[in-house]
Symmetry: C2
Protein backbone atom coordinates (compact mmCIF):
# COMPACT_ATOMS: atom_id res chain seq x y z
CA UNK A 1 0.00 0.00 0.00
CA UNK A 2 1.48 3.35 -1.01
CA UNK A 3 0.79 5.89 1.67
CA UNK A 4 1.31 9.61 1.83
CA UNK A 5 2.34 11.89 4.64
CA UNK A 6 0.89 15.33 5.17
CA UNK A 7 1.50 18.16 7.62
CA UNK A 8 -2.25 18.86 7.41
CA UNK A 9 -4.08 17.48 10.45
CA UNK A 10 -7.26 15.98 9.02
CA UNK A 11 -9.22 12.77 9.09
CA UNK A 12 -10.64 12.73 12.62
CA UNK A 13 -13.93 11.71 11.05
CA UNK A 14 -16.21 9.79 10.54
CA UNK A 15 -17.93 10.37 13.84
CA UNK A 16 -21.06 11.58 15.51
CA UNK A 17 -21.55 15.27 16.20
CA UNK A 18 -23.02 16.20 19.58
CA UNK A 19 -25.14 19.23 20.36
CA UNK A 20 -23.82 20.87 23.51
CA UNK A 21 -26.44 22.81 25.46
CA UNK A 22 -25.74 25.47 28.07
CA UNK A 23 -27.78 27.94 30.05
CA UNK A 24 -26.74 30.68 32.45
CA UNK A 25 -29.25 33.11 33.91
CA UNK A 26 -31.25 34.39 30.90
CA UNK A 27 -28.83 33.16 28.24
CA UNK A 28 -29.06 29.81 26.57
CA UNK A 29 -27.25 28.28 23.67
CA UNK A 30 -26.66 25.13 21.69
CA UNK A 31 -23.55 24.37 19.64
CA UNK A 32 -22.26 21.48 17.57
CA UNK A 33 -19.24 19.61 18.88
CA UNK A 34 -17.58 17.09 16.63
CA UNK A 35 -14.88 16.47 19.23
CA UNK A 36 -16.14 14.58 22.25
CA UNK A 37 -15.50 11.29 24.03
CA UNK A 38 -16.29 9.28 27.12
CA UNK A 39 -13.48 9.67 29.68
CA UNK A 40 -14.31 7.28 32.53
CA UNK A 41 -16.90 4.68 33.54
CA UNK A 42 -16.60 5.02 37.32
CA UNK A 43 -17.04 7.85 38.03
CA UNK A 44 -19.00 8.47 34.82
CA UNK A 45 -17.18 11.26 32.96
CA UNK A 46 -17.84 12.61 29.48
CA UNK A 47 -15.72 15.25 27.73
CA UNK A 48 -16.42 17.83 25.02
CA UNK A 49 -13.99 20.23 23.36
CA UNK A 50 -15.14 23.85 23.20
CA UNK A 51 -13.17 26.66 21.57
CA UNK A 52 -12.51 29.57 23.88
CA UNK A 53 -14.06 31.97 21.36
CA UNK A 54 -17.39 30.12 21.28
CA UNK A 55 -20.41 31.81 22.92
CA UNK A 56 -21.11 28.54 24.73
CA UNK A 57 -17.79 28.63 26.58
CA UNK A 58 -18.67 31.34 29.16
CA UNK A 59 -22.16 29.88 29.66
CA UNK A 60 -20.72 26.51 30.64
CA UNK A 61 -17.97 28.05 32.73
CA UNK A 62 -20.35 30.31 34.64
CA UNK A 63 -23.14 27.77 35.19
CA UNK A 64 -20.86 24.79 35.78
CA UNK A 65 -23.19 22.59 33.72
CA UNK A 66 -23.72 21.39 30.18
CA UNK A 67 -25.71 18.86 28.20
CA UNK A 68 -24.40 16.53 25.47
CA UNK A 69 -27.22 15.68 23.06
CA UNK A 70 -27.31 13.19 20.20
CA UNK A 71 -29.92 13.55 17.45
CA UNK A 72 -30.88 11.08 14.74
CA UNK A 73 -30.35 11.42 10.99
CA UNK A 74 -33.62 13.29 10.43
CA UNK A 75 -32.03 16.20 12.32
CA UNK A 76 -28.73 16.33 10.40
CA UNK A 77 -29.39 19.87 9.19
CA UNK A 78 -29.81 21.09 12.78
CA UNK A 79 -26.67 19.28 13.87
CA UNK A 80 -24.68 21.08 11.19
CA UNK A 81 -26.45 24.43 11.51
CA UNK A 82 -25.85 24.70 15.24
CA UNK A 83 -22.14 24.78 14.39
CA UNK A 84 -22.46 27.40 11.67
CA UNK A 85 -24.70 29.94 13.39
CA UNK A 86 -23.56 31.68 16.57
CA UNK A 87 -25.27 33.23 19.56
CA UNK A 88 -22.59 35.93 19.24
CA UNK A 89 -24.31 36.97 15.99
CA UNK A 90 -27.65 37.15 17.78
CA UNK A 91 -28.95 33.75 16.69
CA UNK A 92 -31.35 32.01 19.07
CA UNK A 93 -30.63 28.62 17.60
CA UNK A 94 -33.42 26.98 19.59
CA UNK A 95 -35.89 29.21 17.74
CA UNK A 96 -34.14 29.03 14.36
CA UNK A 97 -34.17 25.24 14.33
CA UNK A 98 -37.35 24.64 16.33
CA UNK A 99 -35.46 22.94 19.14
CA UNK A 100 -37.36 22.47 22.36
CA UNK A 101 -35.96 21.84 25.82
CA UNK A 102 -37.30 19.04 27.95
CA UNK A 103 -39.92 20.24 30.44
CA UNK A 104 -38.00 18.77 33.39
CA UNK A 105 -34.45 19.62 32.38
CA UNK A 106 -33.46 22.54 30.19
CA UNK A 107 -30.19 20.98 29.01
CA UNK A 108 -32.04 18.05 27.45
CA UNK A 109 -33.20 18.59 23.87
CA UNK A 110 -36.58 17.03 23.23
CA UNK A 111 -35.39 15.80 19.82
CA UNK A 112 -32.36 13.97 21.25
CA UNK A 113 -32.35 10.19 21.44
CA UNK A 114 -29.67 10.46 24.14
CA UNK A 115 -28.48 13.21 26.47
CA UNK A 116 -25.76 13.27 29.09
CA UNK A 117 -26.45 16.00 31.66
CA UNK A 118 -23.10 16.96 33.15
CA UNK A 119 -21.62 19.02 35.95
CA UNK A 120 -18.25 20.51 35.08
CA UNK A 121 -15.64 18.53 37.00
CA UNK A 122 -12.59 20.05 35.35
CA UNK A 123 -11.49 22.25 32.46
CA UNK A 124 -8.26 21.22 30.75
CA UNK A 125 -6.71 23.50 28.14
CA UNK A 126 -5.57 21.53 25.10
CA UNK A 127 -3.99 23.80 22.51
CA UNK A 128 -6.63 26.00 20.86
CA UNK A 129 -9.54 24.29 22.67
CA UNK A 130 -10.63 23.61 26.22
CA UNK A 131 -11.67 20.11 27.27
CA UNK A 132 -14.69 20.29 29.55
CA UNK A 133 -14.66 17.20 31.75
CA UNK A 134 -18.25 16.51 32.72
CA UNK A 135 -19.43 14.42 35.63
CA UNK A 136 -22.47 12.66 34.14
CA UNK A 137 -25.32 13.35 36.49
CA UNK A 138 -28.17 12.10 34.33
CA UNK A 139 -28.46 9.88 31.30
CA UNK A 140 -31.74 10.59 29.49
CA UNK A 141 -32.72 8.49 26.47
CA UNK A 142 -35.53 7.60 24.14
CA UNK A 143 -36.14 3.87 24.66
CA UNK A 144 -37.47 3.50 21.11
CA UNK A 145 -34.02 4.40 19.78
CA UNK A 146 -32.37 1.39 21.45
CA UNK A 147 -32.78 -2.34 21.19
CA UNK A 148 -32.99 -4.79 24.10
CA UNK A 149 -29.17 -4.89 24.33
CA UNK A 150 -29.02 -1.08 24.59
CA UNK A 151 -27.51 -0.87 21.11
CA UNK A 152 -28.67 2.06 18.98
CA UNK A 153 -31.23 1.07 16.38
CA UNK A 154 -32.10 4.56 15.20
CA UNK A 155 -30.46 6.06 12.13
CA UNK A 156 -27.43 8.17 13.08
CA UNK A 157 -26.02 11.09 11.08
CA UNK A 158 -22.32 10.36 10.75
CA UNK A 159 -20.10 13.33 9.96
CA UNK A 160 -17.44 13.07 7.25
CA UNK A 161 -16.20 16.68 7.45
CA UNK A 162 -16.94 19.75 5.27
CA UNK A 163 -20.62 19.88 6.17
CA UNK A 164 -21.18 16.38 4.81
CA UNK A 165 -23.11 13.60 6.56
CA UNK A 166 -23.88 9.99 5.77
CA UNK A 167 -26.84 8.22 7.26
CA UNK A 168 -25.83 5.17 9.29
CA UNK A 169 -28.47 2.48 9.25
CA UNK A 170 -27.66 0.72 12.50
CA UNK A 171 -29.86 -2.25 11.63
CA UNK A 172 -28.14 -3.11 8.36
CA UNK A 173 -25.15 -5.44 8.02
CA UNK A 174 -24.44 -5.78 11.72
CA UNK A 175 -21.66 -8.11 12.69
CA UNK A 176 -20.93 -9.19 16.27
CA UNK A 177 -17.65 -10.67 17.47
CA UNK A 178 -18.08 -12.69 20.66
CA UNK A 179 -15.19 -12.48 23.14
CA UNK A 180 -14.78 -16.26 23.07
CA UNK A 181 -14.17 -16.16 19.33
CA UNK A 182 -10.72 -14.79 20.05
CA UNK A 183 -8.47 -17.56 21.35
CA UNK A 184 -6.44 -16.39 24.32
CA UNK A 185 -2.83 -17.46 24.10
CA UNK A 186 -2.76 -18.59 27.71
CA UNK A 187 -5.68 -20.97 27.07
CA UNK A 188 -4.04 -22.82 24.21
CA UNK B 1 -41.50 11.82 23.26
CA UNK B 2 -41.42 9.73 26.42
CA UNK B 3 -37.90 9.46 27.66
CA UNK B 4 -36.31 7.43 30.41
CA UNK B 5 -33.54 8.19 32.84
CA UNK B 6 -30.94 5.70 33.88
CA UNK B 7 -28.02 5.70 36.30
CA UNK B 8 -26.24 3.42 33.80
CA UNK B 9 -23.70 5.35 31.76
CA UNK B 10 -24.11 3.99 28.25
CA UNK B 11 -24.65 5.17 24.70
CA UNK B 12 -21.30 6.76 23.85
CA UNK B 13 -21.57 4.95 20.54
CA UNK B 14 -21.84 4.84 17.52
CA UNK B 15 -18.27 5.73 16.78
CA UNK B 16 -15.04 4.58 15.23
CA UNK B 17 -12.61 2.46 17.20
CA UNK B 18 -8.93 3.31 16.87
CA UNK B 19 -6.01 0.91 17.18
CA UNK B 20 -3.40 2.42 19.44
CA UNK B 21 0.13 1.22 18.76
CA UNK B 22 3.06 1.47 21.15
CA UNK B 23 6.61 0.21 21.27
CA UNK B 24 9.24 0.43 23.96
CA UNK B 25 12.58 -1.35 23.64
CA UNK B 26 11.68 -4.95 22.68
CA UNK B 27 8.02 -4.73 23.60
CA UNK B 28 5.31 -3.72 21.18
CA UNK B 29 1.56 -3.76 21.44
CA UNK B 30 -1.65 -2.71 19.77
CA UNK B 31 -4.94 -2.11 21.59
CA UNK B 32 -8.43 -0.98 20.63
CA UNK B 33 -9.58 2.40 21.89
CA UNK B 34 -13.20 3.37 21.45
CA UNK B 35 -12.59 6.60 23.34
CA UNK B 36 -10.55 9.12 21.41
CA UNK B 37 -10.95 12.60 19.96
CA UNK B 38 -9.14 15.46 18.30
CA UNK B 39 -8.18 18.07 20.92
CA UNK B 40 -6.69 21.00 18.99
CA UNK B 41 -5.96 22.11 15.43
CA UNK B 42 -2.99 24.39 16.15
CA UNK B 43 -0.96 22.85 17.64
CA UNK B 44 -2.34 19.56 16.27
CA UNK B 45 -3.30 17.44 19.27
CA UNK B 46 -5.12 14.10 19.37
CA UNK B 47 -6.20 12.30 22.53
CA UNK B 48 -6.81 8.66 23.43
CA UNK B 49 -8.07 7.18 26.68
CA UNK B 50 -6.07 4.27 28.04
CA UNK B 51 -6.93 2.35 31.19
CA UNK B 52 -4.10 2.27 33.70
CA UNK B 53 -4.28 -1.55 33.82
CA UNK B 54 -3.74 -1.94 30.07
CA UNK B 55 -0.40 -3.36 28.90
CA UNK B 56 -0.16 -0.47 26.43
CA UNK B 57 -0.13 2.13 29.21
CA UNK B 58 3.49 1.61 30.41
CA UNK B 59 4.73 1.27 26.82
CA UNK B 60 3.34 4.69 25.89
CA UNK B 61 4.46 6.27 29.14
CA UNK B 62 8.03 4.92 28.85
CA UNK B 63 8.50 5.63 25.14
CA UNK B 64 6.62 8.93 25.07
CA UNK B 65 5.06 7.97 21.75
CA UNK B 66 1.98 6.29 20.33
CA UNK B 67 0.16 5.77 17.06
CA UNK B 68 -3.58 6.13 16.43
CA UNK B 69 -4.62 3.90 13.54
CA UNK B 70 -7.94 3.65 11.71
CA UNK B 71 -8.77 0.52 9.69
CA UNK B 72 -11.58 -0.03 7.22
CA UNK B 73 -14.58 -2.34 7.57
CA UNK B 74 -12.75 -5.37 6.16
CA UNK B 75 -10.66 -5.32 9.35
CA UNK B 76 -13.53 -5.10 11.86
CA UNK B 77 -12.57 -8.40 13.48
CA UNK B 78 -9.05 -7.13 14.17
CA UNK B 79 -10.38 -3.87 15.57
CA UNK B 80 -12.52 -5.78 18.03
CA UNK B 81 -10.00 -8.52 18.78
CA UNK B 82 -7.22 -6.09 19.68
CA UNK B 83 -9.46 -5.00 22.55
CA UNK B 84 -10.26 -8.51 23.74
CA UNK B 85 -6.79 -10.06 23.71
CA UNK B 86 -4.04 -8.69 25.91
CA UNK B 87 -0.27 -8.57 25.77
CA UNK B 88 -0.46 -9.27 29.51
CA UNK B 89 -1.78 -12.75 28.59
CA UNK B 90 1.13 -13.24 26.25
CA UNK B 91 -0.67 -12.35 23.02
CA UNK B 92 1.45 -10.87 20.26
CA UNK B 93 -1.54 -9.28 18.58
CA UNK B 94 0.49 -8.29 15.53
CA UNK B 95 1.12 -11.96 14.89
CA UNK B 96 -2.34 -13.16 15.87
CA UNK B 97 -4.06 -10.77 13.48
CA UNK B 98 -1.39 -10.60 10.78
CA UNK B 99 -0.80 -6.90 11.40
CA UNK B 100 2.32 -5.46 9.87
CA UNK B 101 4.12 -2.29 10.77
CA UNK B 102 5.12 0.22 8.13
CA UNK B 103 8.73 -0.16 7.05
CA UNK B 104 9.51 3.50 7.82
CA UNK B 105 7.55 3.95 11.03
CA UNK B 106 6.77 1.16 13.49
CA UNK B 107 3.71 2.89 14.96
CA UNK B 108 1.95 2.94 11.58
CA UNK B 109 -0.07 -0.16 10.76
CA UNK B 110 0.20 -1.11 7.11
CA UNK B 111 -3.53 -1.90 7.02
CA UNK B 112 -4.57 1.52 8.34
CA UNK B 113 -6.15 4.04 6.01
CA UNK B 114 -5.08 6.78 8.45
CA UNK B 115 -2.54 7.02 11.26
CA UNK B 116 -1.66 9.86 13.60
CA UNK B 117 1.87 9.41 14.94
CA UNK B 118 2.01 11.25 18.25
CA UNK B 119 4.47 12.36 20.89
CA UNK B 120 3.01 12.39 24.38
CA UNK B 121 2.47 16.05 25.31
CA UNK B 122 0.53 15.43 28.51
CA UNK B 123 -1.19 12.73 30.54
CA UNK B 124 -4.40 13.77 32.28
CA UNK B 125 -6.07 11.40 34.72
CA UNK B 126 -9.81 11.27 34.16
CA UNK B 127 -11.50 8.94 36.62
CA UNK B 128 -10.62 5.31 35.83
CA UNK B 129 -8.73 6.20 32.63
CA UNK B 130 -5.79 8.36 31.61
CA UNK B 131 -6.12 10.75 28.69
CA UNK B 132 -2.94 10.70 26.63
CA UNK B 133 -2.64 14.05 24.88
CA UNK B 134 -0.63 13.47 21.72
CA UNK B 135 1.19 16.08 19.70
CA UNK B 136 0.54 14.89 16.14
CA UNK B 137 3.94 14.61 14.53
CA UNK B 138 2.94 12.79 11.37
CA UNK B 139 -0.31 12.17 9.52
CA UNK B 140 0.03 9.10 7.30
CA UNK B 141 -2.83 8.10 5.03
CA UNK B 142 -3.82 5.95 2.10
CA UNK B 143 -4.85 8.37 -0.65
CA UNK B 144 -7.20 5.79 -2.17
CA UNK B 145 -9.35 5.96 0.99
CA UNK B 146 -10.13 9.66 0.51
CA UNK B 147 -11.83 11.69 -2.19
CA UNK B 148 -10.59 14.97 -3.67
CA UNK B 149 -12.12 16.90 -0.73
CA UNK B 150 -10.26 14.71 1.79
CA UNK B 151 -13.53 13.08 2.83
CA UNK B 152 -13.35 9.36 3.61
CA UNK B 153 -14.70 7.20 0.82
CA UNK B 154 -13.67 3.86 2.23
CA UNK B 155 -16.09 1.72 4.23
CA UNK B 156 -15.70 2.35 7.96
CA UNK B 157 -16.54 -0.11 10.75
CA UNK B 158 -18.75 1.82 13.15
CA UNK B 159 -18.98 0.45 16.67
CA UNK B 160 -22.37 0.12 18.38
CA UNK B 161 -21.14 -1.50 21.61
CA UNK B 162 -21.13 -5.15 22.79
CA UNK B 163 -18.73 -6.32 20.10
CA UNK B 164 -21.13 -5.21 17.35
CA UNK B 165 -20.18 -3.23 14.25
CA UNK B 166 -22.11 -1.77 11.35
CA UNK B 167 -20.46 -1.05 8.03
CA UNK B 168 -20.72 2.60 7.06
CA UNK B 169 -20.83 3.09 3.32
CA UNK B 170 -19.44 6.61 3.10
CA UNK B 171 -20.49 6.96 -0.55
CA UNK B 172 -24.19 6.25 0.01
CA UNK B 173 -26.81 8.87 0.87
CA UNK B 174 -24.39 11.72 1.47
CA UNK B 175 -25.91 15.08 2.26
CA UNK B 176 -23.94 18.33 2.40
CA UNK B 177 -25.10 21.51 4.12
CA UNK B 178 -23.35 24.57 2.74
CA UNK B 179 -22.59 27.31 5.31
CA UNK B 180 -24.54 29.87 3.24
CA UNK B 181 -27.67 27.73 3.53
CA UNK B 182 -27.96 28.88 7.14
CA UNK B 183 -29.17 32.47 7.26
CA UNK B 184 -27.20 34.50 9.77
CA UNK B 185 -29.39 36.72 11.91
CA UNK B 186 -27.08 39.70 11.49
CA UNK B 187 -27.34 39.47 7.73
CA UNK B 188 -31.12 39.70 7.58
Amino acid sequence: MTKLRTPRFFGYYPGTVALVTARHQDDRNVMSAGWHTALSVDPPLYGVLIGRERATHPLVTASGRFGVNFLNASHARVVQGAGVLSLADGADKFETFGLREDADETLVLEAAYLTFVCDVADIVTTGDHDLFVGRVRDVVYDPRAYDEQFLLRDEAPVYLGRGTYVKLDTRAERVTFAPESFVKVTER
